[in-house]
């Protein structure tokens, strides 16, 4: 798999490049700014670009803006956005504006190489990836009476995985059940929570996150 890295912290960028290269990935570019990243992608399109959300010049949401640009100009290139802290706003903006083939992970996930590579593969395969910490935080958010109480424990597990962006097949693999069973659970969840019957893509993830955030 071909990966481009954009992060203004050179030490971290190089460390990550080595870890990924050791794991057998092809690192096509290492850059420090959004502009350099777009040039590098145009020159040699990777499967996935790993982009730090904070980059010069303002260190706020340059990575997010760059992601929207990449998704528009190079739809075949997936983007995995790394953030130093978790913000539901960023995740929802990413899922809202960029279509599929995007992921949003806490920056520390680079320390779990296996998880990182699996997230990269999912993004490359057109799935959506949401950091488990964000999904967990939104599900655990204190609520008064809520429709979430009407979900069975199993449906809760499925909901968390839905929020992390897994496909039905991905959920089935994780829970060691058949895809049919997962589909049944998902149908129940969607019914109980009154979510729109979205197809299996980032729109479903967006709906789940938005629901968890507001309910």
């Amino acid at each position: 798999m071909r990966v481009a890295l954009a992060d203004d912290a050179a030490v971290l960028r190089e460390g990550l490049a080595r870890v990924l290269a050791d794991a057998g990935l092809d690192v096509t570019a290492q850059v420090g700014t959004a502009d350099e990243l777009l040039t590098a992608i145009a020159a040699s399109p990777p499967d996935v670009a790993v982009v730090d959300i904070h980059m010069p010049p303002t260190w706020t949401d340059e990575g997010l803006v760059a992601t929207e640009e990449i998704r528009r100009r190079f739809p075949e290139v997936g983007v995995l956005l790394l953030s130093q802290y978790i913000e539901a706003d960023y995740a929802l903006r990413l899922l809202d504006g960029s279509g599929a083939k995007v992921g949003y992970l806490l920056k520390e996930r680079v320390l779990d190489v296996a998880d990182l590579i699996s997230a990269l593969e999912r993004v490359a395969n057109g799935e959506t990836v949401v950091d488990p910490a964000l999904a967990a935080q939104l599900i655990a958010r204190p609520r008064e009476e809520t429709t979430l109480d009407r979900l069975t424990p199993r449906e809760h597990e499925v909901l968390a995985l839905l929020a992390e962006g897994f496909t039905d097949r991905g959920i089935a693999e994780r829970l060691f059940v058949t895809q049919n069973t997962v589909e049944t659970h998902v149908r129940h969840i969607i019914g109980k929570l009154g979510l729109p019957a979205a197809p299996t893509d980032n729109r479903r993830v967006h709906a789940v996150l938005a629901y968890l955030r507001s309910a």
């Binding site: 912290a9 030490v11 971290l12 460390g15 990550l16 080595r18 870890v19 050791d22 904070h54 260190w59 706020t60 949401d61 130093q84 802290y85 913000e87 539901a88 706003d89 920056k107 520390e108 680079v110 320390l111 190489v113 935080q137 939104l138 958010r141 204190p142 609520r143 008064e144 955030r213």
Partner: protein, 577 residues
């Protein structure tokens, strides 16, 4: 008083003379005309008495007296001395009108143009008088429509009857031109006057302007002064016009007299004037709505307004400045309409009456100035603190966190290189890795506590959502602003909600909290209401006190209602344009 007595005696003598004459001049007209002239003398005397520093009173007395004397040839035509006097001053009225109007209200000549006009009027009156006295010939000059004089009314200085019609016509024409110039000057005075000055000048200017205008009409229509003794309508016009000038001054005088009462009123009013309103009381007393009050702060050696803001005294002639108190240690300065300079007595009695109130006002202003400075410096300190927190947070993320992550990556590589078993080194690396992760967690929480990046980057609304998501008590978010607020306001609101939510979780035993932020009418309202046990006490060292300080630093108010059993309601109101 002597003047009034003399005027009265003169009028009585003239009326008696007219009575003796029998048919001429018509007695009722003479009585009306000369009585009004006497009233004019009285008014002039009163003005003289009240405002001795102004020459207006003198001119006001002189003008009707001169008018009376100029009627001598009509009444006392047998006395050559009286006739001479009468002829001599027959047009001196022009000079006095010019003096009155051009120097009112100070009685002093203030501009070069006025001075020139007065000289011209004086010269004209002198020439006219001389022509009458020297070259008088009553016979050929007048017909019934114009001034009729007894043929035997001959002045002492008479040197020979002479047909002076040409000279008189020329002089009348000059007088007509003078009337036009005078009208123009009066209009210019009105247009240029300050609002206060206009109010003072307007009645007199209107009366004298009308006098000049009616004279112009006489010249244009009849070719000379109309004989008002024979012409009924012109008698009334001339007589009333002449009276209008002292009458209009009486109007101005009323306004002036009011001032004495006003000083007394002011003393009473100042007794109950709240601090900060002394200016209004003074403006009312002096009749100058544009009045500004500058209070002297000896410590700073500068003026401030009633709110303690620096006040720069204006320069230039548009405004006048009266400094109250000794020059080396003033109490205050009044910035006012220059017309008030003509009423120094009023100004100083008002200032004396207000002295104590002004001292008070000054102390208040000093206090306010200090408070304002304190507030500004407090706001600066809070802002600097916020900035420092932001910088710290950024440094933790961009510095320490990146380095720890790099270190973590290096550990990963080391573990991969070492393989599963390297004399227990893999276990050590594993431990190191776990330590590193908790260090990262702690660092992240630390940075969030110092100053959440989401607040800087995404604003208050996003930051409050995150806060609500992480709260251990369910938070219902009400309306939140859909736009960014000033950083200091956002920080104050954020930390207020954060602290309040912490307190709710710790003490309130609440089942829910409602948070709402509204930006309306140039203020931001932050409301945090819980349904817990209440009884929160800001004095008990909770973080509330620091938050109150933060809100106060922004000139805001923090209100806490927390009766036992009724939940806790916290409301901050922060000014925000």
């Amino acid at each position: 008083m002597l003047v009034v007595l003399a005027g009265g005696a003169l009028v009585a003598a003239m009326i008696y003379g007219a009575y003796r004459n029998g048919l001429w001049p018509p007695l009722e007209k003479a009585v009306i005309s000369w009585s009004l002239a006497f009233v004019g003398v009285v008014i002039g005397a009163v003005v003289w008495q009240l405002r001795p520093e102004s020459r207006t009173g003198l001119y006001l007395v002189a003008w009707p007296l001169v008018g009376l004397v100029s009627d001598f040839p009509v009444v006392f035509s047998a006395s050559r001395l009286a006739v001479t006097l009468g002829y001599l001053v027959s047009d001196a009225g022009v000079l006095f009108i010019a003096l009155l109007v051009l120097t009112y209200p100070s009685g002093r000549v203030t501009s070069q143009l006025d001075r020139v006009l007065i000289w011209i009027a004086g010269a004209f009156a002198a020439v006219y008088g001389l022509v009458n006295v020297v070259l008088f010939d009553p016979r050929p000059q007048y017909d019934a429509t114009i001034l009729v004089l007894q043929p035997h009314a001959v002045p002492l200085t008479h040197i020979g009857s002479y047909d002076a019609t040409g000279i008189r016509n020329a002089l009348d024409a000059v007088l007509g031109i003078l009337a036009v110039v005078f009208l123009a000057v009066v209009l210019r005075k009105l247009v240029r006057a300050t609002p206060g000055g206009r109010r003072v000048v307007l009645p007199l200017a209107a009366a004298s302007g009308f006098a000049a205008a009616q004279y112009l009409v006489q010249i244009l229509v009849f070719g000379g002064p109309v004989n008002s003794w024979t012409n009924d309508s012109w008698f009334w016009i001339v007589t009333l016009t002449a009276f209008a000038i002292p009458a209009s001054l009486a109007a101005g005088l009323l306004w002036g007299r009011r001032a004495r009462v006003v000083v007394a009123d002011l003393v009473v009013e100042l007794e109950r004037t709240p601090p900060g309103s002394v200016r209004d009381a003074l403006a009312r007393a002096l009749g100058d709505p544009t009045l500004e009050l500058a209070l002297w702060l000896p410590d700073r050696r500068s003026y401030v307004d009633a709110d303690g803001r620096p006040f720069a005294l204006p320069t230039g002639s548009q405004r006048a400045i009266t400094v109250l108190g000794p020059a080396d240690a003033p109490v205050a300065a009044l910035v006012h309409d220059p017309v008030l300079l003509e009423r120094r007595a009023l100004l100083s009695s008002v200032a004396a009456a207000a002295r104590l109130a002004l001292e008070n006002e000054r102390l208040q202003a000093e206090l306010r100035a200090q408070l304002a400075e304190l507030r500004v410096s407090r706001a600066r300190i809070v802002e600097a603190g916020d900035e420092e927190r932001r910088r710290l947070e950024r440094n933790l993320h961009d510095g320490a966190q990146q380095r720890l992550l790099s270190l973590g990556l290096a550990l990963q590589l080391a573990r991969a290189k070492l393989g599963p078993d390297a004399n227990g080194a893999a276990d050590l690396l594993q431990e190191a890795d776990e330590e590193l992760r908790s260090a990262l967690d702690e660092l992240r929480e630390l940075a969030r506590g110092i100053h959440p990046a989401v607040l800087t980057e995404q604003g208050l609304t996003a930051a409050l959502r995150t806060l609500a998501e992480r709260s251990s008590v369910p938070v219902a978010l009400g309306a939140l602003p859909d736009h960014r607020l000033p950083p200091a306001t956002e920080a104050a609101a954020y930390f207020l909600v954060a602290e309040a939510l912490t307190n709710v979780a710790k003490y309130a035993q609440a089942t829910r909290v409602r948070v709402q932020v509204a930006h309306e009418d140039e203020r931001v309202l932050v409301d945090i209401d819980d349904d817990g046990v209440g009884g929160a006490d800001p004095a008990k060292g909770s973080g509330l006190r620091g938050l109150a300080d933060r809100v106060h630093a922004l000139d805001g108010e923090l209100e806490l209602r927390s009766a036992p059993g009724c939940g806790t309601h916290l409301r901050a109101e922060i000014p925000c344009a």
